[in-house]
């Protein structure tokens, strides 16, 4: 039992799960699930009570039973008591102060990371302002490597997302080339296929492999099919990375056909291809607040805490990239620009705190109360927070998934305003091709760059 005594009222919270939910800043998904605070006062009372909870409590009181949920077992069994020792004396409020203090550096946070559980990260984020979420996240550098190095300070990467409504190879290639000519694609070129067919996935991967080899592009590609499909084709298709959407409860993952032991097998199978001997990172995960609730499997846990539990799954597999597709799920989970912006910064912060190479799909659907101005805000704030990557789709308009994300122009804007460069290997290639000039500014029309366009003819 947790409680806050205010001058006129005593608020009681029967469990840590309830306390976390009631302390969560307002969002439509928690309202829909019936777990959020009944008033603003109750929300802040919950935040006050939460700030006084010792971090040690999170190791004794779980939000779903250990016996009933494999993610709870993963969290508890993989908890590193030695890493935790540095912060084991702290309350949630003390943990916030610790993270904000100037003595706590990137190195110290990394040393502590495996001692922090997802629920601890969720708890502290709930009592942090947007400014706090940015200030702490920008200190944390999570660097991963495949053919490019992503997440270095001073760098800002993009996943090029050249989707096409009929999986048409030339259509995908046209959007890809347009993106490359804008300096995009250094985190990954990743296509969401319309059809879950081995032939189509293989055909797209082979086309991108041909492009990579012909122009010696330091890049990696991925077709976002279910991991079971990707695992089936590793011996007939050039598979760099393996993809899966994941959620924060066992039941939600089961509803997507996701099992932790199978994820391990798939990870090992792709690693065994050894397509980049310098890298042991082959997983690309997507997550998003509201996923567990949409599968009716949220177990009365608030959606942001559920989201951080998905990060426990992600970090088990030492992924190359993790992407919170923050506004895709719709207004019943994140109603407007304000809620999407906060959620994007929370996900980025919590992921980084737990040691993940976080990127964010800064996005919205047309029935959300949101527009491109909100996306400008979120991408600017994420850049300030040193987010590893965002998405780049032609003109912000994904004509396959029917939603709006960030564009090639948005990526160029961030790089210009924050003086950020692409991943170093990719930057060299852009200069070699004349897409960037020697100062690193866009100037894509020299002869080598034209050869890229002619690849389509």
């Amino acid at each position: 039992m947790y409680r806050t005594q205010l001058s006129n009222h005593v608020y009681n919270f029967d469990s840590l799960r309830t306390l976390l939910a009631k302390a969560s800043p307002l969002r439509s998904g928690d309202l829909l699930a019936g777990v959020c605070a009944n008033s603003y006062e109750e929300r802040i009372a919950a935040q006050i009570a939460l700030s006084n909870v010792p971090l040690k409590n999170f190791l004794n009181e779980v939000v779903i039973d250990y016996e009933k949920d494999d993610i709870t077992r993963l969290i508890i069994d993989s908890h590193d008591a030695i890493a935790f020792a540095t912060i084991s004396h702290l309350t949630v409020g003390g943990f916030r102060d610790w993270l904000l203090s100037t003595e706590v550096t990137n190195e110290i946070i990394h040393q502590t990371s495996m001692g922090i559980t997802p629920e601890m990260a969720a708890a502290v984020s709930k009592i942090m302002s947007l400014q706090d979420l940015i200030l702490v996240a920008q200190k944390i550098e999570v660097v991963t490597k495949f053919r490019t190095t992503v997440g270095l300070k001073g760098r800002f990467s993009t996943r090029l997302q050249p989707n096409h409504p009929n999986d048409d190879n030339k259509g995908i290639m046209a959007s890809t080339l347009d993106g490359l000519l804008f300096g995009c694609g250094d985190a990954m070129i990743g296509i969401n296929p319309v059809s879950e067919s081995e032939e189509i996935v293989t055909s797209i991967l082979s086309m991108l492999e041909e492009l990579r080899l012909k122009f010696e592009i330091p890049m990696q590609s991925c077709v976002l099919a279910h991991y079971t499909l990707t695992k089936n084709i590793i011996h007939k298709a050039p598979v760099d990375l393996i993809f899966q959407s994941i959620a924060g409860t066992q039941k939600a993952n089961e509803s997507f056909g996701v099992r932790l032991d199978e994820l391990q097998e798939a990870n090992d199978a792709v690693l065994s291809l050894n397509r980049n001997p310098l890298s042991k990172q082959v997983f690309y995960f997507e997550t998003g607040q509201g996923t567990a609730l949409s599968a009716n499997a949220n177990a009365m846990i608030d959606q942001q805490t559920c989201e951080t539990r998905a990060y426990a799954v992600a970090r088990k597999f030492n992924p190359f990239l993790v992407n919170s597709v923050v506004g895709f799920i719709g207004p019943e989970y994140l109603y407007n620009g304000k809620q999407i912006i906060r959620a994007g910064l929370e996900d980025h912060f919590c992921g980084k705190l737990l040691g993940l190479p976080m990127g964010v799909d800064v996005c919205y659907t047309n029935h959300a109360d949101c527009d491109q101005d909100d996306m400008d805000n979120l991408s600017t704030l994420l850049a300030a927070a040193n987010c590893n990557f965002i998405i780049a789709v032609p003109g912000s308009d994904d004509i396959m998934l029917q939603y709006q994300s960030t564009s090639y122009n948005d990526a160029a804007y961030v790089r210009k305003v924050f003086n950020r460069k692409p991943a170093p290997e990719f930057e060299l290639w852009l200069k070699k091709m004349g897409i960037f000039n020697s100062e690193g500014a866009l100037s894509y029309m020299n002869e080598d760059a034209k050869k890229l366009l002619n690849h389509l003819s």
Binding site: D178, L181, Q372, Y413, L456
Partner: protein
């Protein structure tokens, strides 16, 4: 696809537009979109947002159907308001009490229920609804099954066909619904067909025909595809994803 070559044999960036409807080769000012491109995007977004929030005129659809000799009944979901409908998807999955009493008068074991719902694009249902229903009813004639009066339902989701189908004891429920608008078109309809619908039916029990609009699937193609799906459902006594393997 034939490729237009410019002066020499080399492609220009603008030639990328020949290969995809994606917004490639946009003109820029500095690194940003030029004014014309920016406003074109904002206009497309404005149309999509308006499509979600515009009220439809159901009486007009009902009148159009009457002229075509098709009866219809106006229903409301439990949502009550557009705002609640958007925030709470479940509220759009059942009809309200008044509508429930209306449909109880339409029981028939071997009939087809056709439900026209506004979904996330009332504009799409308004523009194409009566034309599609006219074509579909004509197409379904060869099945020799009764068709209930058309249920025109406000603030309805796909699953509203399940409860309507159960109450009316229908053999087949067809939900025609405004799809979530993208920037390409706000006018797209989807069609969801369920055999032996009950409140316990799920997405796994439905077959879907989507992208019905002027530049996508035509009303005629969609109606014909719908009839073929129903014939297959009746033959194998199954609907949903399991029908794919038949």
């Amino acid at each position: 696809m034939s490729i237009k070559k410019t002066e020499s044999t080399s492609l220009q960036r603008s030639d990328l537009k020949q290969f995809t409807n994606a917004r490639v080769a946009l003109r820029t000012s500095g690194v940003s979109l030029c004014t014309e491109e920016l406003l074109a995007f904002k206009l497309a977004h404005a149309c999509a947002v308006d499509a979600v929030w515009t009220e439809w005129d159901r009486t007009k659809i009902s009148y159009e159907l009457t002229l075509l000799g098709i009866e219809s009944i106006l229903l409301e979901s439990e949502a009550g308001s557009r705002m609640r409908y958007v925030k709470n998807p479940l509220s759009g999955c059942r009809v309200n009490e008044q509508s429930h009493q209306l449909i109880q008068l339409c029981k028939n074991k071997n009939a087809i229920s056709i439900i026209l719902a506004d979904g996330l694009s009332p504009i799409a249902a308004q523009e194409q609804g009566s034309k599609l229903i006219d074509c579909l009813v004509e197409e379904l004639r060869s099945l020799s099954m009764n068709i209930h009066p058309i249920f025109i339902c406000s603030n309805g989701r796909v699953a509203i066909g399940d409860s309507i189908g159960e109450t009316t004891k229908s053999k087949i429920a067809i939900v025609i619904i405004g799809e979530r608008p993208g920037l390409t078109t706000p006018q797209s309809l989807g069609m969801y067909i369920t055999l032996n619908p009950t409140a316990a039916s799920t997405n796994a029990n439905r077959n879907c025909i989507s992208n019905i609009h002027e530049e996508g699937l035509s009303i005629e193609q969609a109606s014909n595809e719908c009839k073929q799906l129903i014939e297959k459902m009746l033959k194998y006594n199954i609907s949903g994803y399991q029908l794919h393997s038949k």
